[in-house]
Symmetry: C2
Subunit: 668 residues, 2 copies
């Protein structure tokens, strides 16, 4: 293009700066730094710097067992607070544990076992002070639906139980592996909107499942979607039991009332915390006194008897029996167990970490996601060997723990002790617990998870997030839990891809009395500069958008030319691309720029770049595009670029048809 | 925070501007504009504006049949050029057609049929002036490998043939549908790097398949990967035919020599264009005269006889027989045909459009991707009803067409006519064509597709693109064509996701003697401002990166505090976030900003935003974050933000531990 002997135009303009090409780094160094950013963004090794080896060992031990860090500072004041909150959550843990185990089609006692060993492990390894460990409804439901697809829990309870242990084991391995491999960011792909929709959907599905208990039905669909459940419920109206229904509605009313009261007056939090245990005791007493189990009210004992031939299936006295030998590694259903483990593991992790983070934010301390994952993983691996199934940090229980004033993870130890005492001495009491009470407890807990206010908030702020949330909800309610998750994650990713595939481009104008150039859409006072089209690209230029950007830039150019032609103003002479927002560029993007340059040249215009970042400058340099366009046509700011263009425009009145720089070579 | 009654600090600083909150638009309008940007970025309806209805009709007709546009301007000069180039490409089309049909395990005559009807359709509907239509090696190989997985072409040739037609039909329907639905951008997801690697891999695989023909083997593996082919070749060394090998090497040498000569001297392009036909004629004559077909040299006739019971399988005289009734819509293999059609359709489309665009760029005219897709789709639908299989615009043939000086798509019509004459009168000549010659023709064409220079270029400019390219190549060569594609596309998408999940953040410094702030990594002369940490975020803030950004920002802050503490400088007081590169934000991103604000407040620092774009301002406004941070802490440029902070820093020497604005309220 003969630009080489062209005088650098910006020398004539005040305060022009060169755009630096960053010094090239050896491949190994840039690789190391990008790996560090990807896997160690929180720099966990910082505290190990400049420490003696013995200190390093203690720090490493404290890293994996945070209890070693805070135990020396533990005081009696703390213990009093933890004792109260521990007993409070135990009173919630026992009925919830039984209910959720039922939801997972597992023997109810597993819910109690799962509130003993895992909290102890977490108390040693976890870094949250407020998380209360236990089973959760959504993961329980997922286990039932995923395992239940291939193995019937009623017909083959032993295999089903072993698969549940195996799935828990793999969930733990997967969680710990994510933590060790520093892949915790996978959980980030479950966006807030996805979780809101997914939780609400799962809560709806769980409530629907409780219709079985409330109505006292004996046969029920294995499907979890709305359509199958409704068909199942209304096809057997003659089987509905009014005794069960009335009892269920009464307890539900009682539970919701206490919840409402404690929401209105936070100091009555213990009301809603004690309500489930009170319901269980009241319900059991009622059944024991009236012999309602003979009049259509199902009780736990009957359920347990179905699988009495598995020794541990019975609510027998005793502590978590070892179950390492029950892990079904040789089974033909191993892949099913692994799949279930991974899916439920991710869900449980997402809930547990989100809950831990929320409360840490309230109390202003920090939670390390990867460390938490290792703690969750270890807790589930230990759990799977001691007759527990999948545990995490449920929101409801942790909220009660927080409200009861817990100080450290000792509240988990207190809860575990209370559960142990129950396991050792009080299990017979639960024989007469009516199922309908458990159903009421589940429903009242679930209703709190349907966060319609969050959904309204999403709608107001971000329509796309609302669509993601809604599709997660609809996917879970009308399809299955997995469908809901996959659809929501796919939509969220689609949004990211669409952002890159269809980046916004803006026309910039001059903010009056300044050298600042901003989008004329956002700043209506910004004035366009005659003869110069300034475009801002606000996304990385990748293969996915290079064709689009080529089209879009040429459309901006011809639209501008049409506009100028019809208004009879100065014809277009320069196209300035503001590259400040272009974070990265690949080879397709560079080809696109080369094509844009050719296109602009053909129209007799001049392409000018402003403010390319270091990543972009590196690539432009390597690909020799800087030589093609000419280093003198790359400016540090849009202001300087426009200044230089304006200087040329007004010094040499160019031929309006074509501004070939060669034409001016002799004049300069 | 008590900010409300705080005096707007920047009033004390020169030229401060307010950041505008863009006027809110009705949902329908913003939806319409984003749909337009997604599906109609090239604004195809622009020319229809302000036209009379009759003119609109003609324009619409011209839109779908571009021949109506250029035919009136067609001159005799053009025809002379098109005649020469048409005859040239016909001489290449005939042997290539036969070879590629063999590659697809289809009767050779289908290759000739496919060079008759589809070029005629494309000449009417296509918008490229240089594209020469025909079958391509990669798609042919894909058809053979995908259909061959389930139906054996030798044992069940009739079904196989019908499935090939059906797949072609669905490829056409899919291509046309993509065009009509304006989904052409799907092709963009095949990046340049993917295509380079994929093409080279496919070329390697095709060359490996030719070992059968060159060595005169009768049995050969059905696998396409390197390992199976090598095992198959070396397990039957005793079956190698030296006559065939020598003949093949001679012809290959001849073809490569002519290609080398025409690459060295572009005016000898006809040498390489005529070489394949010359080889076919020479080879056939040789076989006819020496009766080599009885001495181990396989000829086309023998192959054809295998499927002589299909009427059209024989190289009989005549033109494309109708095959509409052969489309196997009712077959149990329908899904196989649809799958094959979609995969091969996308590949063919990607190649055809890339080729069309490349030559259009040389001659400075424009190609509309969606229109081209409709043309390709129609051409394949028409082809599938007239005994053709999948066609597109092959690179080799189009390059010859371009070099021969074609002016319009009339060269395709000339080629079709020449092929028709061959079909009607000259087919018997091909009975004696030795297969080994066809193999040589394929190998020499394929070697040109292995673009190792492009791969080296990728390595130099962009390591990640090189990895994508290499994995596409390795996937095709060691796995299968589909594996290579899927791996390469997945890696490319992963890169986009990683860009968003791990965005770059930079510390900015002041460029001496200016109000400009730039990354200190890129501009080593930029000076940091005492007491103020300026961070630039250069990516949209989405769920996928909000956790990361929270961690990263807090790491920047404590690193800066550590640095200042050890050097004893002014302690940190302000954190300025440059949001200029943040193109979009979702609800997770807003939560992240709220957490960062809390974190910064807790450390006794002040959070300041600079230059949020319109999209971001809208969301911040709706979510009330502007109120949380205070409108007075949002500045138009980093320079103004720093100016205001500096003013406050130097006017009121603040308590170094905490700068709570409340402390100053009375002083102001």
């Amino acid at each position: 293009m003969g630009n080489t002997d062209y005088v650098y135009p910006s020398t004539n303009v005040e305060c022009a700066h060169r755009v630096a090409i960053p010094p090239s780094q050896p491949l190994s160094k840039s690789l190391k730094s990008s790996l560090k950013e990807t896997f160690f963004p929180d720099d966990p090794l910082r505290q190990f710097k400049n420490q003696a080896p013995s200190r390093k060992f203690i720090l490493a031990l404290q890293y994996f067992l945070p209890i070693l860090e805070w135990a020396p500072r533990y005081t009696f004041e703390f213990f009093k607070a933890d004792l109260i909150s521990g007993i409070t959550i135990a009173s919630l843990a026992i009925p919830q544990g039984i209910s959720y185990a039922k939801l997972a089609n597992l023997p109810p006692i597993l819910g109690l076992y799962s509130s003993f060993v895992p909290p102890l492990v977490y108390a040693m390894m976890g870094s949250s002070r407020d998380l209360a460990v236990g089973t959760v409804a959504v993961a329980s439901l997922l286990i039932a639906s995923m395992l239940g697809n291939e193995v019937n829990a009623t017909e083959n309870p032993k295999l089903y139980l072993h698969l549940a242990f195996t799935a828990t084991f793999f969930a733990g391995v997967f969680q710990a592996a994510l933590g060790f491999l520093r892949l915790g960011f996978i959980v980030d792909f479950l966006s807030h909107a996805t979780i809101v929709g997914f939780m609400a959907g799962a809560a709806t599905v769980v409530c629907l499942q409780q219709l079985k208990g409330i109505l006292g039905l004996e046969h029920f669909t294995h499907g979890t979607d709305l359509v199958s459940v409704m068909r199942s419920v209304f096809s057997q109206t003659h089987m509905w039991r009014w005794e069960s229904g009335v009892l269920g509605c009464c307890f539900l009313f009682f539970l919701l009332l206490t919840r409402y009261l404690s929401l209105r007056r936070p100091k009555f939090f213990w009301l809603s915390a004690m309500a489930p245990l009170t319901s269980v005791i009241l319900g059991s007493l009622l059944v024991y006194l009236t012999h309602a189990e003979k009049h259509g009210v199902q009780v736990i004992m009957q359920l347990v008897l179905i699988c009495h031939f598995i020794q541990i299936g019975h609510l027998k006295k005793g502590l978590n029996p070892p179950s390492l030998t029950d892990l079904a590694f040789g089974s033909q259903y191993l892949t099913l167990a692994i799949k279930t483990g991974i899916v439920t593991g991710v869900i449980a992790l997402a809930e547990g970490i989100a809950v831990g983070r929320s409360f840490a934010m309230f109390k202003n301390y920090h939670i390390d996601g990867n460390k938490e994952m290792i703690a969750f993983g270890m807790m589930n691996i230990a759990g799977s060997c001691t007759s527990c199934y999948l545990t995490t940090g449920p929101f409801s229980r942790s909220a009660v723990n927080f409200n009861a004033g817990c100080k450290t993870a000792v509240s988990n130890i207190v809860m575990a002790t209370a559960v142990m005492i129950t396991l050792l001495f009080l299990t017979p009491l639960f024989h007469y617990t009516p199922l309908v009470v458990l159903s009421s407890i589940i429903i009242s807990a679930m209703l709190g998870l349907i966060d319609y206010e969050a959904a309204i908030h999403l709608w107001k702020i971000d329509k796309f997030d609302f669509i993601v949330c809604l599709s997660a909800y609809a996917g879970v309610v009308f399809g299955s839990v997995e469908i809901g998750l996959v659809v929501a994650v796919a939509l969220s990713l689609l949004r990211v891809l669409l952002f890159v595939a269809r980046p916004r481009t803006f026309v910039l104008g001059n903010i009056p009395n300044s050298m600042i150039y901003r989008s004329v859409d956002q700043y209506p006072t910004a004035n366009s500069v005659p003869g110069i089209l300034i475009l801002e690209i606000n996304a990385p230029i990748y293969f996915a958008n290079s064709s689009y950007l080529r089209e879009r830039i040429s459309r901006w150019i011809y639209e501008e030319e049409d506009k100028l032609k019809s208004s009879g103003e100065t014809s277009l002479q320069y196209v300035v691309l503001d590259m400040g927002g272009v974070g990265s560029i690949d080879t397709s993007g560079i080809s696109m720029l080369e094509e844009v340059k050719k296109n602009v040249d053909r129209r007799g215009l001049k392409l000018v770049l402003a403010n390319p970042g270091s990543e972009v400058m590196k690539k432009l340099d390597k690909s020799k595009f800087i030589e093609t366009i000419g280093q003198e046509w790359i400016y540090l700011t849009v202001g300087e670029a426009v200044g230089a263009c304006n200087f040329l425009l007004h010094t040499y009145k160019p031929n309006p048809v074509a501004v070939e720089p060669e034409a001016h070579d002799n004049n300069v």
